[in-house]
Assembly symmetry: C2
Homo-oligomer: 471 residues x 2
């Protein structure tokens, strides 16, 4: 089935005929011909350019998206919908023979409803613009992640992005009240619900959230806003081992003011605390875990720093933590986040990133088993663990001195075998895209994959929407 | 299309042949023959018994459910999945020619994972048993509603139940991490994810949440648990008009400790405060709105009563409220909730309930327009509004001295026309079932209904799952 699905709808397009048909339907203002496409439209994050698309379409309206898909359906022409291209599973790049449909020009905030606490936005809007508009209206937006400046809200919905606030506000799916998407035949499906409660028939928007553009192209959304948070308080704690991290989490999760709870395994903290230029680490990275905690409250008069300080004093006394540093300036808080974001590990040779999830209580054992399995095969491997453990999500950075495709596959299989044995997920927040497609069966059953294929066949019978991704 | 879809799969079943086939496959312990079925299995909440089913199956395992559906698929025999039968849209009752599959014997808590804060439960478990198990493990369950003692968790998931805590924890959909369902052909689809983050392919569980048993039968679920809340503080406030209610909500929603914010329009409060035996209303029901606020905190050392009292003092000073009564005993708090639950209005002659949603800021105008439209047609109509306005959900109780089917339909159309004009939903939390099926197009577009039908055809091509419901 793999090969079957990875084939594009027809694969027999005449590139010039596609170009002319698109130009005739949409005009030169919306269509860039193949030779003129800037490589950034076919380069995944941190990677060399991939396959050049047959054409680039940059719609300015929902009608433009609809006309593009109606034409592609007639011509059986595969389409890759594209957001900010910040994903790590290569879901937004062309594999060969597709046109790319970039949403970057269909951007902007359409409206804010303060009484209902909702914001209506276009797919091409950067996440940060949504956050800024929320703040300007006296609210907070529930999702935040490192790529906020360049990722697009449509892409974050299509991949159900997670990030660092999921323990407080949930992932992207929980922010979406209403959605508009264009189906494979060009039909505009507008489900722009504006209420927290609406049970009038099937909740169709769920089909498009997290399905990576394989069932429809997201054009607009109604998103929830949250009460504005006061100034955050940030602290880094040193914790003896994963069991102590769990006890600390158990204590902290009861406090509604916790926004983030991020754990760094000793090997990760040791590496980033000594390899991040310009950042002073709050403590040396010997053997302990480091936990970054961010607090913020919306309660009037609430003082996050005071609450966090009192919590940490209790935890020190109870022996849950060995040491704690409360950031006393924005600069110190930013440094703590810089360590946690771990850009330093991007410099490791042939870095391979993993993004898996398991129940929080099992992450400690998982990390041990995973590292042991990797080290049994590659004694000199560099292997660091970190993540949003409150939501069961751990990231793994792995580096080998040499890497080729066969080794990369072996690396993947080694990690995913442990995930499979422990009944976890091979993708916590980055999706499946192209990179994890071959491993989907490690984490989903035959019955589940059969139902996914059934949905794909029902919604995109010609398989023109992002072919070769997910399934 | 309506007639087409409302027809059961074949309608040509020989009732005796169905009985014998079920008995042969499942045995007399699981199958009750038609004549022996207790009327409670074919009576909707508060209504006279409806159509007697061809048989009643009460499975004891997922395998039993699977064998039942595999047999029904072979025989093209329609099936009505049934929970606690507490729904108000008649989604769980037979319309004629179906067998009923009651989940009541497949009940119980399977496990609690304290580190991950999840609970694994069987579909037939009453909501209250889930709440109790959560409390025993040191947690709170996120959904609460009046029927907690008799509704089943499978039914609350199948109808995406809402209730009184949605502003804090979301509706049922937000509590479900993993789900197991049996498909129309008997396939067991197990998606028992245990993590807050899992983006490995399509999120199939969403298909079964809120689709009222028309796409599959829910058998088990993994649910989120929330930090245990301290003792709640409850207050009732008198507020001059809907604009003031909105200002009060705007102030209150910023306080994370708010669990419930329930508004009673003057006509509702006047009626229940004078017609609820044994309850002392905190203030007389002249012209104002009454707002019930419940506070509870999970922050160690937090005092909900103190916080609420301080908040209310501020609101009085700011002129947002005219009067406030803080419950000083459990009894007083229960009385406030009894008023809000409004069982007194059940005594009104020929009561018809509506459950609609619109953005919070528009509910005041909606209630005025809706009442004006009803009064223009029936000058003596009794018509009361109340609800969970923080999530946009308002309930309407309407009573006419005389009522027949034609008048009931005219009543529905009058209310739903106003909902449609204001772009709201005809079902906030009770689903579509049978009762609202004819009005689905008031609230969903042709493209949406076409996509719902496409999903139904893909997942249940013989239309044996709860036929005549939703679509």
């Amino acid at each position: 089935m793999q090969t079957h699905d990875s084939t594009a709808a027809s694969g027999e397009q005449d590139p010039l005929a596609i170009e002319s048909a698109l130009l005739a339907e949409l005009g030169a203002e919306l269509v860039t011909t193949s030779a003129d496409i800037d490589p950034r439209y076919f380069s995944a994050y941190n990677e060399a350019p991939g396959r050049r698309p047959l054409a680039l379409v940059r719609p300015r309206s929902v009608g433009d998206v609809s006309r593009t898909l109606a034409l592609c359906a007639r011509l059986r022409q595969p389409v890759v919908p594209q957001g900010g291209l910040t994903g790590l599973a290569r879901g937004g790049v062309a594999l060969g023979g597709e046109i790319v449909l970039s949403m970057e020009r269909f951007a902007g905030i359409e409206s804010v409803d303060a009484a209902a606490a909702t914001i209506t936005v276009r797919a091409g809007t950067p996440l940060q613009a949504v956050q800024d508009a929320a703040a300007a209206a006296g609210f907070t937006f529930g999702v935040d992640l490192g790529a906020r400046g360049s990722c697009q809200i449509g892409g974050t919905i299509a991949t159900n992005a997670g990030g660092t606030r999921a323990i407080r506000y949930g992932v992207m799916r929980e922010q979406v009240l209403g959605l508009e998407a264009v189906l494979a035949d060009g039909t505009v499906l507008s489900s722009m619900n504006r209420m927290l409660k609406n049970n009038a028939g099937y909740d169709l928007k769920q089909l498009f959230i997290g399905s990576e553009g394989t069932l429809g192209i997201i054009t607009r959304a109604v998103l929830r806003l949250r009460p504005k948070l006061g100034a955050p308080a940030t602290a880094m704690c040193r914790v003896a081992g994963y069991d102590a991290v769990l006890r600390l989490w158990d204590r902290m999760r009861a406090v509604t003011d916790v926004v983030s709870f991020e754990a760094m395994w000793p090997s990760f903290y040791q590496y980033v605390s000594t390899h991040t230029p310009g950042v002073v680490a709050p403590f040396a990275g010997e053997d302990g875990f480091a936990v970054l905690i961010e607090f913020a409250t919306s309660t009037p008069g609430g003082d996050a720093a005071q609450t966090l300080e009192a919590c940490l004093a209790d935890c020190l006394e109870a022996g849950l933590i060995d040491d704690a540093a409360l950031a006393t300036s924005e600069r110190q808080a930013r440094d703590m986040w810089t360590l946690r974001e771990g850009l330093a590990i991007d410099e490791l040779p042939h870095l391979v990133n993993f993004d898996v999830s398991l129940p929080t209580g099992e992450l400690g054992a998982f990390a041990e088993r995973c590292e042991a399995a990797l080290r049994a095969r590659w004694p000199d491997i560099v292997c660091v663990f970190f993540g949003h453990i409150g939501d069961g999500n751990v990231h793994i950075g792995v580096s080998l001195a040499e890497l080729d495709d066969a080794l990369a596959d072996e690396l993947d299989r080694t990690v995913y075998e442990v995930v499979q044995e422990m009944d976890g997920s091979i993708s916590a927040e980055h999706g499946i895209g192209v990179l994890k497609r071959a491993y989907l069966a490690c984490t989903r059953s035959d019955a589940e994959i059969a139902l996914m294929r059934l949905l794909k066949a029902a919604l995109d019978p010609q398989r023109i929407l992002n072919p070769g991704k997910v399934l």
